[in-house]
């Protein structure tokens, strides 16, 4: 076992080491968060739930009314991409620091893995899009996709399967890490939560062998999750983005989508952590250190966004071939230029100048404002990509490149309701899951306390962190 000591000036309150909390208090207080819902929490959950139901009704109405015209489905495609980015990216962001044995991430992992459950909304929104997606072969000609010799409905089947697999792996990742907490619920909760804990704890008692295999399972599902997440991002961007536009060939775009998905995941975690800390009075468990570390990650990913965007953009800009120009005219300069500018400002420029300040990253509210701005920017970025892509009429899909740039497609009332409903539904699922399991992992918060001790370091304060090999 190695240890490291991080010294801080005693003058800054934000850098003061977190106080130790007894394990029994952690268990009882965190399990109590599943039952003590405030009136505000219930009101917000009801409002979001109603928006969610309206969104589902709007989606069904849109399918009945516009189920034969794919050009009207760009906003739903943008919503799928947006939801995939947040709900898919968040668990991965929590896994990577765990694998690197970062101590700050322990109180964050549960809330991050809960985002996986909201992936069911992404799957639900994908269903009509799959029905809208043109077949690979139309009138004897095969359109340009990644499926060169594959059966006719390969993108429909594999994209759906990929998203379902991502959802299942996310749930398994959540469950693997939650087994000790289900045992804690079995021991200390009441009613249906206790029964659920008993059923899902699967005989967990906490032997050395159980802890070892738990670590193996978390590592295995974390690795699989990463592999599947990248693959699903590749499938969705290729089948529901690039292959809808004749001549749009961009090897960087899937990675651009994946990296911005990580950025969205961190932003989503920051907002959820802020809300949980504020609403459930979890200040003594969610320390400034977590926000400080997430802030650095978010800042790095924000700068990475512009790197990937520019790497992709420059190929088309210097290429200047007819299809390069047509692609830029469609996605950047054309019908969505204002969404592009607003998106770039909000996903990159403004967060850059917010998160660059140490004072902001050491705080809670400034970080949350930055995260909200990033998510708005991300939504605009997905709109400027997927709406123009889907606005290309299917009869032009066999052209070598786009000769006629479609007009700007503005959202209809149904589109607005679907987008609000889809995002609300995802948010309410995350909220409701905090009623089922503790929003912070009991055993990981206990482990945080076990491995990190506040110490006096010369004239300052420090946190001594043990790092087991």
């Amino acid at each position: 076992m190695t240890s490291e000591a991080t010294a801080h000036s005693h003058e800054t309150e934000h850098h003061a080491p977190p106080a130790q909390v007894d394990a029994d208090i952690i268990a009882h207080e965190l399990i109590a968060t599943t039952t003590n819902a405030s009136k505000r929490f219930k009101t917000i959950a009801w409002v979001l739930g109603i928006f969610g139901i309206i969104g589902i009704i709007a989606l069904v109405l849109k399918f009945l009314d516009q189920g034969s015209d794919s050009t009207k489905w760009g906003y739903v495609a943008a919503l799928v991409s947006f939801l995939l980015s947040i709900t898919g990216g968040a668990p991965m962001v929590a896994m990577a620091p765990v694998m690197a044995k970062a101590n700050w991430v322990r109180p964050v992992t549960r809330i991050a893995s809960i985002f996986s459950f909201a992936g069911v909304v992404t799957i639900g929104m994908l269903i009509p899009l799959v029905a809208m997606l043109p077949p690979l072969v139309t009138e004897g000609a095969r359109r340009r996709t990644i499926w060169m010799e594959a059966p006719d409905y390969s993108p429909h089947i594999w994209s759906t399967l990929g998203l379902v697999l991502l959802f299942i792996t996310g749930i398994m990742l959540f469950y693997s890490a939650a087994i000790p907490d289900f045992a804690a619920m079995r021991n200390h909760s009441t009613g249906w939560r206790q029964r659920l804990g008993k059923r899902l704890a699967r005989g967990w008692v906490g032997t050395d062998s159980q802890w070892r295999t738990l670590r193996m399972r978390i590592g295995m599902f974390g690795t699989f999750y990463f592999l599947i997440l990248v693959f699903v991002n590749f499938l969705i961007t290729s089948d529901f983005g690039q292959s809808m536009v004749p001549g749009w060939r961009d090897a960087i775009y899937p990675m651009y989508h994946t990296v911005s998905s990580f950025q969205a995941g961190v932003a989503g975690i920051v907002i959820a952590l802020w809300a949980a800390r504020r609403q459930m009075n979890l200040q003594k468990y969610v320390h400034m250190d977590a926000f400080w570390s997430l802030g650095r990650l978010l800042f790095a990913l924000t700068l990475l966004w512009v790197y990937f965007f520019y790497s992709s953009f420059i190929v088309f800009w210097y290429g200047r071939s007819a299809n390069d120009i047509a692609t830029l005219n469609l996605l950047v300069k054309g019908p969505m230029i204002y969404a592009f500018i607003a998106g770039m400002v909000l996903i990159w420029f403004v967060p850059w100048w917010i998160l660059i300040w140490n004072k902001v990253r050491r705080g809670v509210n400034g970080m949350t404002i930055g995260a909200v701005i990033i998510l708005i920017g991300l939504l605009l970025d997905r709109i400027r990509t997927f709406v123009p892509a889907w606005s290309v009429p299917p009869e032009r899909i066999h052209e070598k490149w786009l000769t006629v740039i479609p007009e700007t497609v503005y959202p209809s009332l149904l589109d607005v309701l679907i987008m609000i409903g889809g995002i609300s539904l995802a948010a309410v699922i995350v909220m409701l899951m905090t009623r089922v399991v503790p929003v912070l992992s009991v055993w990981q918060v206990q482990e945080f306390n076990l491995l990190a001790k506040p110490i006096r370091y010369v004239r300052g304060h420090a946190t001594l962190v043990a790092k087991p090999d």
């Binding site: 070892r212 055993w443 206990q446 087991p468």
Partner: protein, 169 residues
């Protein structure tokens, strides 16, 4: 003769480690006693028996099988349908590399999943003696017997180490 287990409960990890040492010194076999915790202590913190897992063998074995199969598949396919493409040799290693890589990885991943299942064993749904305070930070030292002759000795060791309570099942 029935399997019996006793559980000593401690609040201090040092005392639980002392109990584990005492059991070893009293001649209890490794694997007949274990420590129960609500949070993962660093491996070996209680001087407990750490069985050597063999998980690393699974991906290595899977990858070797995948690589062998991929070489066989690509070579035999190309030899069975010999078509010269672009003046390249029939057995073109660069074209084979992609399939070799994919099959090696796939077999490695599948073997790892099997290895995890194998190493984890099936969950024990009737875990025997247990105390709910373990998830509140208490530490349990559980000793399992096939006969009753050593129960008193184990209780003595646990008491001597400072167990706050001893439960039997």
């Amino acid at each position: 003769m029935s399997t019996q287990s006793i559980l000593g409960l401690f609040q201090q990890p040092e005392l639980a480690a002392d109990a584990m040492d005492g059991l070893k010194e009293a001649g209890f076999e490794l694997g007949t006693f274990d420590v129960l915790t609500g949070t993962p202590y660093p491996e070996g913190a209680f001087g407990e028996y750490v069985p050597q897992h063999r998980l690393f063998r699974f991906p290595a074995f899977g990858a070797i099988i995948g690589l062998t199969l991929s070489i066989f598949l690509t070579a035999v396919t190309q030899l069975a349908y010999p078509m010269v493409t672009g003046g390249k040799p029939i057995l073109s290693i660069f074209a084979m590399l992609i399939i070799m890589y994919e099959m090696t990885m796939l077999s490695g991943v599948i073997a790892t999943v099997i290895g995890i299942v194998f190493e984890s064993r099936l969950p024990n749904m009737k875990p025997g003696v247990y105390d709910t305070r373990i998830t509140e930070g208490w530490i349990g030292v559980v000793v399992t017997f096939d006969d009753d002759s050593k129960v008193a000795e184990a209780q003595n060791v646990l008491n001597k180490a400072g167990a706050l309570e001893i439960k039997t099942a």
